[in-house]
């Protein structure tokens, strides 16, 4: 955090370049096109230039502090990296474009192809279907045929596309001898590695450290290696969950659950929770109100408000040690904290009532005692087998814990250390002193996609191939095996995978990962192998590999209740909803998409309740110094409504020291975190520091001095009931968010479209917020006639519309990430986001309701509503935004001169303006990523959601060719496709049987701001919650 205000120091030990970027830029100024390339040749002969392009972190990184010049810096960086590829690898010839003399089979230029593969992830792979255009992956979506994910994705899998094209990816093998680093070749490494390992004899002192790996092929490779070097050890460690051996192997079946209790388990956020996709889908399906169906009820006990907590009917905020106490009480040990007693009794009664139809969910990173309590409670309820099943975690041969490795390193017993797909220098517990100890290891190798903190310390660094570039296999959270197939050659030659690194040590050292995967696949593909292999590649999963629930649940491990740490503030460590453990820190999309609940983009913060903030005596703009066991961290505080008292949540995954995006963003929580208490630790103190820093909170409260604003709201409540903040209050008042309890809904099914009772305070003496003007009262009632017959086809014309179910929306932001990828949305950077210029076409509006200490929150995806009577169209002086006969509100980018009047007259404020040149036109790798069907918008142009018009057009062309009407469900918008809970449905409103039409006929369907008579095509279905009457509403 503080780093961001200073000039970032250069981490590499490479000497500073003799030539600066500015000089290069000067030399290149005014040279374009063909001459540009020629002049590069001339330039590349300059030894200073060669050195400059080798340098990973050019000195101009200091320009980062300024938003505007940072962009120019990024542009220059793009150019320099393009050159780096040129001088570093092979010399590129002058560019000439040839048509294919002999076209690859199946390739029709302009027609995308789809390939099934899977994204490996610590909690289990995400099966995906990747869209490629001319063999460039351009969009990642879920594999609809996969039994687990059913075509859904989370925010990480969507954004992993950008990781492939990340211009900061490591491009060369680097060898570091005595502090000097030099480029090397993979072959040199292989020889050096083999020699180093041979020197260990039976593998004594040979260690592997890697992230959780679910690859059967890797397991087979490791088995061979363990046989060859019996003393070799492997550590599977993920900074969020700890050692693989401690990772619980529970499978929840929420489709069977009537009552769910979550013990700090954020299972609606992302794949950071194992089995997120099926759980979210099942939760939402059971939470939708349908007649004759029992709605589920969710209780959440947690510290940091999460999307799961705010979806819950009843949420209890407890500090981390109290969550443990609560869990122990469930397990029959100890008492619950005083104020939680009522909640506790009600929950226990409700769980018991539901019996086998109840489930207690524990977080994968929760302390063992919480896991055990959940397991014991589930066993007692008879839920095992019904709503949850447990399997014994499988372990590799010669597994060890990270702590053992750390001790061995400290004792100098580690001779060879291979760090695969992991970044322990950054993320290891602070007490391991990993970075210092790593330097003591005589031979260390780091395989990673970035030359990151570990990469610049290890004696060798190997560029890792992205999963879209490599062969492997993996298991999803439900155990189903997917083959990972490459969709593109490695962008940077020399990129290898962990299969390569292990294979080097085995007998058949040159076997390719493809051979290895095929070899292993023979063990799990039944029947004829050639057919089965093709089918597995085509389908994206292997039949018959899904884990079956064991007949009997393993006994709940007996775990002594963790000692409650004494006094002070408790620090709660959590995976970041966007950067996860830090691996996505250099992903611009994920940095820019606001984090769940806090709506904080870029940066992380010390999240705490208003009381804790007051106790520390800080304001939101003032940095605080958190001290925990003598370790200090300077970080900006941020008030989060509903955070548990006397505790501070700090998200992991920020404060990285590499990369053009990640550098200087946030504070590194790993600096506080020790191996004995990875989840939370008490006894911390915090004090203010005399430095000020503005966080970039994007929604609801992005006002100057937000802290003061919220504080004054708290002291002078607008609403006698203690409503939280003016914006939240207004959202209710204006009927933007409408919901009812099940009881109220049954009493009055039309609640969403009726005025509420007598308003009590001054602000609401004014009414008619929910009254939609009658179409017939307009001067132009026929302006909205979409019932015409299309002359060319003789069919009833299409009328596009969208319906969003607020009951199902879990606020996970998958739709936002999907929209970024589909629509070439630029990343604008922290400074621009801070002043309100983020470019997202769809956003998750979060509104808080009620008491600041125990608020409710509502999530509402907000995108262009495609109003029939659109205000934007009326006021554009050049007709750059117009209506199509099918009711789309379209933007003609070419025609837009940028008066921004349309945005002013848009009540939903969903239009986005290119205030500066936001799209990156220079970075070569990003050019490959763009969706060719969507324009890249230039400076000075307005843009907004198009309902994915490119997908509509594609479907129309297909239907036209086949001489039929478009089928319902044939067009899926990017947001709809990504949504794990089917909250978003798009379709033709003129089709009476379309799902969207049916949803719009729901009596709870309402238009946001309908009273303005803009006649939006997007409507929302009001939420229904199912609270427990014993605890009252909320």
């Amino acid at each position: 955090m503080v780093e961001s205000t200073k000039n970032p120091e250069v981490v590499t030990t490479i000497q500073p370049a003799k030539l600066t970027l500015a000089e290069v830029q000067e030399r290149l100024a005014g040279k374009r096109g063909k001459r540009f390339w020629q002049s590069l040749d001339e330039l590349s002969e300059d030894p200073g230039f060669e050195q400059m392009v080798r340098e990973e972190f050019p000195r101009q990184a200091s320009e980062w502090t300024d938003g505007v010049s940072r962009r120019s810096f990024m542009k220059v960086m793009g150019a320099s990296l393009a050159l780096a590829g040129m001088t570093g690898c092979t010399k590129q010839p002058d560019e000439q474009i040839f048509p294919y003399v002999k076209a690859p089979e199946d390739l029709i230029l302009g027609k995308p192809m789809y390939f099934a593969t899977a994204m490996p992830f610590p909690t289990g792979a995400v099966p995906v279907l990747v869209k490629t255009d001319a063999f460039r992956p351009i969009k990642i979506d879920g594999n609809p045929e996969h039994p687990m994910s059913k075509g859904k994705t989370d925010v990480f899998s969507q954004a992993s596309l950008l990781d492939l094209y990340d211009p900061d990816r490591s491009k060369r093998t680097v060898k570091r001898v005595g502090g000097e680093s030099a480029d090397s070749e993979y072959g040199d490494f292989a020889v050096a590695f083999q020699n180093a390992v041979k020197a260990t004899g039976n593998g004594q002192g040979l260690w592997f450290l890697m992230d959780f790996n679910h690859s059967p092929t890797f397991a087979a490779q490791w088995k061979q290696l363990a046989a060859k070097y019996p003393a070799a050890k492997i550590v599977q460690y993920n900074p969020v969950y700890g050692d693989a051996s401690k990772m619980p192997a529970a499978q929840y079946k929420l489709e069977n659950a009537d009552v769910i209790l979550s013990l700090d388990a954020d299972f609606l956020s992302s794949n950071a929770f194992p089995g997120f996709l099926p759980m979210a889908a099942a939760y939402a399906a059971r939470h939708r109100y349908e007649e004759g169906k029992t709605m589920n009820r969710l209780y959440v006990v947690e510290t940091m408000p999460s999307v799961t907590g705010f979806k819950a009917e009843h949420r209890l905020a407890l500090k981390p040690s109290d969550v443990v106490a609560f869990a122990n009480a469930l397990n029959g040990g100890g008492a619950v904290p005083g104020e939680a007693q009522k909640f506790f009794s009600a929950v226990v009664a409700d769980l018991k009532k539901a019996g086998a139809k109840a489930v207690v969910v524990a977080g994968p990173q929760s302390p063992a005692s919480v896991q055990a309590a959940a397991m014991a409670m589930n066993t007692a309820l008879g839920a095992v087998g019904s709503t949850v099943s447990y399997a014994a975690p499988a372990a590799l041969e010669n597994s060890a814990d990270f702590k053992q490795l750390a001790l061995a390193m400290d004792g100098g017993q580690v001779k060879v250390l291979a760090i695969l797909c992991s970044n322990p220098v950054y993320s290891a517990p602070a007490d391991f002193n990993f970075g210092i100890n790593l330097a003591k290891v005589p031979f260390s190798v780091h395989l990673g996609q970035h030359l990151d903190e570990t990469g610049v310390t290890a004696s060798w660094h190997l560029p890792e191939a992205h999963y879209l570039e490599s062969w492997s296999d993996t298991r999803a959270a439900d155990g189903t095996i997917s083959i990972i197939q490459p969709l593109i050659d490695p962008l940077y030659p020399g990129a290898v995978s962990s299969h390569h690194v292990v294979q080097v040590l085995l007998d058949n050292a040159t076997a390719t990962p493809r051979d290895l995967v095929q070899q292993t696949a023979k063990t799990y593909i039944a029947g004829d192998f050639a057919t089965g292999w093709r089918k597995a590649l085509h389908d994206g999963w292997v039949e018959g590999t899904t884990a079956t629930a064991p007949a009997a649940a393993p006994a709940a491990p007996a775990v002594a209740a963790a000692a409650v740490p004494a006094g002070g503030i408790e620090i709660n460590f959590k995976a970041d909803s966007n950067t996860f453990d830090g691996r996505y820190a250099n992903n611009g999309w994920l940095q820019e998409i606001p984090k769940q609940v806090t709506r904080l983009a870029w940066d992380n913060a010390a999240l705490m309740s208003m009381e804790t903030l007051k106790k520390i005596g800080a304001e939101e703009t003032q940095l605080i110094e958190v001290t925990l066991n003598g370790r200090k961290l300077v970080i900006p505080p941020l008030m989060v409504a509903g955070h548990a008292p006397d505790s501070i949540t700090i998200h992991l995954g920020s404060g990285r020291k590499f990369g053009r995006v990640a550098w200087g963003v946030g504070a590194n929580a790993y600096e506080l975190r020790t191996s004995d208490a990875p989840n939370y630790q008490g006894g911390a103190t915090a004090k203010t520091v005399d430095t000020y820093y503005d966080l970039c909170v994007t929604q609801v409260h992005d006002l100057d001095h937000r802290g003061k604003f919220a504080q004054s709201d708290l002291e002078h409540p607008v609403d006698p009931n203690g409503s939280f903040s003016e914006p939240g209050h207004e959202a209710m008042e204006r009927g933007i968010i409408r919901y009812a309890t099940l009881e109220e809904f049954l009493k009055n099914p039309k609640f969403a479209n009726e005025e509420e009772g007598e308003p009590e305070n001054l602000n609401s003496t004014h009414t008619a917020m929910r009254e939609v003007p009658d179409k017939e009262t307009s001067f132009f009632p026929n302006a909205w006639d979409y019932g015409k017959i299309d002359k060319s086809t003789g069919l009833l014309q299409n009328k596009w519309g969208m319906a969003i179910d607020l009951n199902s929306c879990i606020g996970c932001s998958s739709c936002v990430a999907s929209c970024y990828a589909e629509n070439n949305i630029p990343v604008v950077g922290r400074e621009q986001v801070k002043i309100g210029r983020k470019m997202d076409w769809i956003r998750i509006d979060t509104y808080f309701e009620g008491d600041l200490h125990a608020p409710k929150a509502h999530f509402q995806p907000m995108l262009c509503q495609h109003c029939e009577n659109a205000g934007c169209e009326l006021v554009c002086p050049v007709g750059a935004t117009v209506h199509t006969p099918e009711g789309l509100n379209t933007m003609v980018y070419n025609r837009c001169v940028g008066t921004r009047y349309c945005s002013n007259n848009c009540p939903y404020k969903v239009r986005r303006f290119n205030f500066l040149l936001y799209s990156d036109y220079e970075t070569e790798s990003l050019k490959l990523m763009r969706n060719p069907d969507v324009s890249v918008r230039s400076r000075g142009v307005m843009e907004k959601c198009t309902y994915c018009v490119q997908r509509i057009q594609e479907a129309k062309i297909t239907a036209d060719k086949e001489g039929r009407a478009i089928r319902d469900g044939e067009i899926v918008t990017a947001c709809q496709q990504a949504c794990p809970t089917e909250a978003i449905i798009f379709g033709n409103l003129n089709d009476p049987n379309a799902r969207v039409t049916k949803r719009k006929q729901d009596e709870r369907s309402y238009a946001v701001l309908g009273d303005l008579n803009y006649r939006p095509r997007t409507s929302y279905v009001a939420g229904v919650i199912n609270p427990n009457n014993e605890l009252g509403e909320a």
């Binding site: 505007v68 609801v700 992005d702 006002l703 100057d704 604003f709 003016e726 914006p727 939240g728 207004e730 959202a731 204006r734 933007i736 602000n763 609401s764 003496t765 004014h766 008619a768 917020m769 621009q832 002043i835 309100g836 210029r837 956003r843 509006d845 979060t846 509104y847 509402q860 907000m862 205000g871 009326l874 006021v875 554009c876 002086p877 050049v878 007709g879 025609r895 001169v897 940028g898 008066t899 921004r900 009047y901 002013n904 007259n905 009540p907 939903y908 404020k909 986005r912 303006f913 290119n914 205030f915 500066l916 400076r939 000075g940 142009v941 307005m942 946001v1008 701001l1009 303005l1012 803009y1014």
Partner: protein, 478 residues
């Protein structure tokens, strides 16, 4: 205007002994003295040093303006504080403010001419110049403010092979016509009014080049009766054309806001209230210019306390209309029963930028309207000068409050934001003030700032003498 003089008229030469009012022209002037005094400013070979200082200072700001505009075109409007939801900012505020200022000039030259207000004669020339320079400043903003200024011409209805036209339902398209018509009429009116005076300058000039230039500018003016007759007729015709513009231009500008559905913009009171506000601020600007120039060039004989008094009265009148506009906005926010309107007004007054509202109430209503009722205040030159600056500031803030407070907290609370101007916003605004001053200084040096011909008509012995005050030659002939 038959107010009682508050001191003995016999002692004060500036009091008309017959009517007891302040004189429009100091006694004792002859044709020659008028020509000498006014043409002397232009034809002198001893340009006052102060003028050079002023020009250099203003020129510095012009340079700053050019630099900021260049950067703006290179980088984009993102260098300004405009953002979402406040997509309009200083540029639109400045545009409306400058256009408003121009209105006083047109009112003085057109409407007061038709209403035969003779006192306008001595101030109409530089008021018109002010109009033109204000329109120059205003006219740049709509172009600079768009995202792609080089395509700004797409707002014009230019025939093209693509058959793409402006979207005529948009008030911004109406603006193009309103402002361009206004600029054209104002320039023609201004220039035509100067033709007889250019003739005088040509005749008086010593240097051949000066003679040649003013000769060209005077378009062959010989001062024949026929010339005068046509001149007067054309003046009346142009006044007739310009009169509706005084009302229409700011009405159309107000549509930019009134047509939008935004609470705080969507108001039927806007047209009259904008016009009144325009005249209010315009007269304030005339005072801001007249008072120092009158002093610097010793023009107290021609721009007398009578003028200042009358202008202050116009301000009092238009200020009251503006005050009525403010109060009706507040009243209807309550009476409409619309939550949107009510919240907007509440937020405008007490929200985070509430200070802007109270500042404009203080500057536009409280200070001027409480003091201008007193003749003593209206004839106190220093007070009027300070007051004119206050009203100019207040009227700028009025536009700021309208543009910003309606935008930054609108319908969906999730999109609420704030507006913060950047240094580029300030530099461009101050730059136009510099440009305005620069152009005005050139004007006072190279063109007759007070119409000699019209002053002379008021002198004893002129064609108009013997008739009523302010009677024109054309009327005399008729």
């Amino acid at each position: 205007m038959a107010t009682k003089p508050h001191h003995d008229p016999a002692l004060d030469p500036m009091i008309d002994p017959v009517t007891g009012e302040l004189a429009v022209l100091a006694p004792g002037h002859t044709f020659k003295s008028v020509t000498q005094k006014i043409a002397g400013v232009v034809l002198t070979s001893h340009t006052p040093l102060g003028w050079f200082f002023g020009l250099i200072a203003a020129g510095g700001f012009v340079v700053m303006f050019i630099v900021s505009v260049t950067w703006l075109v290179l980088k984009g409007v993102g260098i300004w504080g405009v953002t979402m939801p406040g997509a309009w900012g200083f540029a639109i505020v400045n545009f409306v403010w400058w256009i408003g200022i121009g209105h006083a000039g047109t009112l003085i030259s057109a409407i007061l001419l038709l209403f035969k207000q003779g006192w306008r004669n001595s101030i109409n020339r530089f008021a018109e110049a002010m109009t033109i320079f204000a329109v120059v400043c205003a006219g740049m903003f709509p172009v600079l403010h768009v995202g792609r200024p080089w395509l700004g011409y797409w707002l014009l209805p230019l025939p093209n092979t693509m058959n793409v036209w402006p979207q005529f339902r948009s008030p911004l398209a109406w603006d193009v016509f309103a402002v361009s018509t206004y600029a054209t009429i104002s320039v023609v009116f201004w220039y035509m009014g100067m033709v007889p005076d250019f003739g005088t300058l040509r005749d008086k000039a010593q240097h051949p080049l000066t003679k040649y230039i003013y000769g060209m500018l005077s378009l062959g003016w010989r001062g024949s009766t026929r010339h005068w007759m046509r001149f007067e007729t054309a003046s009346l015709l142009l006044a007739g054309l310009a009169t509706p513009l005084v009302l229409s231009v700011h009405t159309v500008i107000s549509f930019d806001f009134a047509v939008a559905a935004l609470p705080g913009w969507h108001t039927t009171i806007f047209p009259p209230y904008f016009v009144a506000g325009a005249i209010y601020s315009g007269f304030a600007m005339v005072l801001t210019l007249a008072i120092p120039i009158r002093k610097f060039y010793h023009m107290e004989d021609f721009v007398t306390l009578r003028h200042l008094d009358n202008m202050a009265k116009v301000m009092l009148g238009t200020g009251l209309i503006v005050a009525y506009g403010y109060s009706s906005e507040v009243f209807f926010a309550w009476y409409s029963g619309s939550h949107w309107e009510f919240f907007m007004m509440w937020n405008r007054m007490f929200g985070p930028i509430g200070w802007g509202y109270w500042l404009l109430i203080t500057f536009n209503i409280a200070i001027p309207l409480c003091t201008l009722w007193w003749r003593k205040a209206r004839t106190n030159v220093t007070y009027l000068f300070i007051m004119s600056l206050i009203v100019n500031t207040g009227m700028w803030f009025e536009r700021f409050v309208i543009v910003v407070t309606a935008l930054y907290r609108d319908f969906l609370p999730s999109s609420w934001g704030t507006y913060k101007a950047t240094r580029w916003d300030y530099m461009i605004f101050i730059g136009t003030l510099g440009l305005f001053t620069f152009l005005f200084l050139l004007f006072v040096r190279f063109a007759p700032m007070i119409p000699m011909n019209e002053i002379k008509m008021m002198l004893p012995g002129s064609a108009a003498d013997g008739g009523k005050e302010g009677k024109t030659v054309a009327e005399e002939i008729a």
